[in-house]
Symmetry: C2
Subunit: 427 residues, 2 copies
């Protein structure tokens, strides 16, 4: 199988490395031959080391896209517009595609997949979500006989690293972020990760696979982790939980509830043990009960391994047989899932109110919560020595988000409240 690789950065370099290592083994054991027909990079400088090894190198992707001897394009460049053009052109030329580009799929999947369906081309993307976790394969193949009722995932390693260290070391978000940047666990411009965008891209893809309908990334409620404080993490610990940024999918009748935000996860939940840069996907299906898959979410070789697994699958599907692509034509705007608006969702809540003086304020808070149909489950009051700044932590029974927002706005306008109230949702 002749492969064209666009993008020879970290992941692309890793893919080439693994193919070099394992090519003979794949050939001997599986009867498939992975042959790198050419590589594309932005500059001759980037191409130089690959040309030195004997690969054909180009700075123009069309050199691969227009080569009829190439049956697969491996898009590992990242970004949106150019990759979209390349992939579209590859499919129009009848080529199969392997990509690790979750942002592209979240944004343009509704154009790419139906086109691939028409042209009977495979588009494989195991590496796009949770690098070392074979979650795409699991959803598409292993759980083909199961209905996914809910999915909860830790799918951004940077956020999980920051939250784990904040809890373990009692540090502030800012301090851990700075250190994570130094250590290479967070980008210089971290907003894509810490604001939950990357997690939402991946969650949108997973939610589409779970529901069999197109889940539009643009419609997902997203809250990042930059407002999480060391104090809240400590209170949550006292309550027997940990804070994790989760991507959530819940089937609710005909609609789907898809969200990305920090969550309180009880210590005994399998997701609570998923620490630092690990990713994890927790599923609840009919006929099966809960399952968890956890592993490296990103990184050169984990992601490259997933790309190579897709290439081998593809080679087996097209070289030793002629298996039809999995139908993904449903992944289109006309077949969009209806998302439950965030205001309509229900869960248990954690609030922290900072009050100037607690005489009487607790009854006012309790009154406002009650008026808004929010039942208190527990109350924890700290800092009682300092009457100027008393933390009141409240957890609730299941309540409706819109009621919670109304109540919090009202509470925040009380004269006794000295800081904007903090809110966290339970898983």
């Amino acid at each position: 199988m002749r492969i064209g690789i666009i993008g020879v950065g970290t992941v692309g370099g890793g893919v080439i490395e693994i193919i070099e290592q394992k090519r003979d083994e794949f050939h001997a054991k599986l009867g498939v031959l992975l042959e790198i027909a050419g590589v594309v990079a932005k500059t001759e400088e980037e191409l130089a080391p690959f040309k030195a090894k004997g690969y054909k190198g180009f700075t123009d992707a069309n050199s691969l896209l227009e080569d009829d001897s190439i049956s697969v394009i491996c898009e590992l460049a990242g970004g949106y517009e150019l990759p979209f053009k390349w992939i579209t052109k590859a499919i129009e030329h009848g080529k199969n595609v392997v990509t690790a580009n979750k942002a592209l799929l979240a944004k343009h999947g509704s154009e790419i997949f139906p086109l691939a369906g028409q042209k009977k081309c495979h588009v494989l993307f195991e590496a796009a979500v949770g690098g070392g976790i074979p979650i795409i394969r699991t959803l598409q193949e292993a759980l083909v006989g199961n209905q996914i009722n809910s999915l909860s995932c830790i799918i951004n390693g940077t956020c999980n690293y920051i939250l784990t260290r904040m809890a373990a070391e009692g540090l502030s978000f800012e301090d851990v972020l700075k250190d994570a940047q130094k250590l290479g666990f967070a980008e210089a411009n971290p907003s894509f990760d810490i604001d939950g965008i990357d997690a939402a891209h991946k969650t949108a893809i997973l939610a589409s696979l779970c529901s069999g309908r197109f889940v539009d990334f643009e419609k997902i409620h997203i809250t990042g982790i930059s407002d999480i404080t060391a104090k809240d993490i400590k209170f949550v610990d006292e309550l027997g939980g940990v804070v994790r940024l989760l991507g959530l999918y819940n089937r609710t009748g005909e609609s789907v509830d898809v969200r990305v935000h920090p969550c309180i996860v009880p210590q005994e939940h399998l997701l609570a043990g998923v620490k630092y840069v690990l990713n994890a996907v927790y599923l609840q299906c009919d006929n099966l009960g809960p399952t968890l898959q956890t592993g490296a979410g990103a990184g050169k070789l984990p992601t490259a391994s997933a790309v190579v697994a897709d290439l081998v699958s593809l080679a087996r599907s097209t070289e030793t047989g002629h298996i039809e692509p999995l139908p993904m034509g449903w992944f289109q705007k006309e077949n969009s899932a209806t998302l439950v608006p965030i205001g309509e969702t229900s869960t248990r809540y954690y609030f922290r109110f900072v009050t100037k003086d607690n005489y009487g304020v607790l009854s006012k808070i309790a009154g406002i919560l009650g008026e808004n149909k929010i039942s208190i489950e527990s109350i924890l009051q700290k800092n009682i020595k300092n009457r100027e700044k008393v933390d009141i932590v409240v957890t609730t029974e299941k309540a409706k988000e819109s009621d919670v927002q109304t109540a919090l706005a009202k509470i925040d306008s009380l004269p006794e409240i000295s800081e904007k109230s903090r809110m966290l949702r339970f898983i």
Copy 2:
């Protein structure tokens, strides 16, 4: 795809149920039609409910095996000799096979897989190991580009249930076993599970897939859990660990180290969170780092789900295309893996010595351990009020099993030792 189902007990009944539920969905979404051509049971009585629903029922498996219109035999009867004959005959007739029978594969896989290779038949067995965990698919497809350096699995739900409850409730093995039997978590004759045989069947299959060589079940060191005491579990807890029955595979040069025995797993290890009947597989691979998959290991519908996923894969491989079976011909006695003898393995150890009187005995024990090149890591001494029965718990640095056996035999012959010493290995 016309399917013949042999065995309509729990799993077979579940498979039929799921196919009835999902047949139209599979047809509409994936273009594959799963058609149950006939079912086989031992008696007409067992067949009656299926015949009432319109299925063709037979008490002689040959009725299906000799029907050329049937392309897949689903063997869900259990046992060894008859299923082996049926599967062999099915393959000789060019039929594909789906089975959940781990005992059969551990015992006769080295005959079945090479025959299937010759006849170009698929033999799929996702349901045979860890029902709800897609571990076979993961090893064969997702990790095709990775070398598995080690695998540790919790693969018998009965044992994990018993060990979890012993720890949570401080109960004895016997008491929990009795209760587990009442509740249906253990068989009336539990030895297949508690002696580690079932775990070893599954571990042999996984180890074969990991190593690409046939790992003979008969050669695996197996220790069950019936000697585990509540006292040892409590001491292990004090040391920050839990006891789990693990199946272990380690690649060591050209040999493989495959064992099934109770292990001490540190609290912070992902496997420690796998409780009650859950199963889990923990892998360490090149290019990837550690991954864990956990989920239901057994039960009617989890196992049946895995069978159905295999049937759908097969239908896609053979109906929408003509993909060749994954080569499994290496799974034969001529290609056996060399197993490291248990005496040659090395790990950290936990010992509990029960001494009549501790004056002087500790120095004797330490002396014997030292003579046998075993370094003590920690010592914990309890019950010091009762000088007739003093527990001395010792953990060691990495030591060699044969040295440990020599040392323990010598220690057990000391006059001050009042009970056979207890030994547990660390993961």
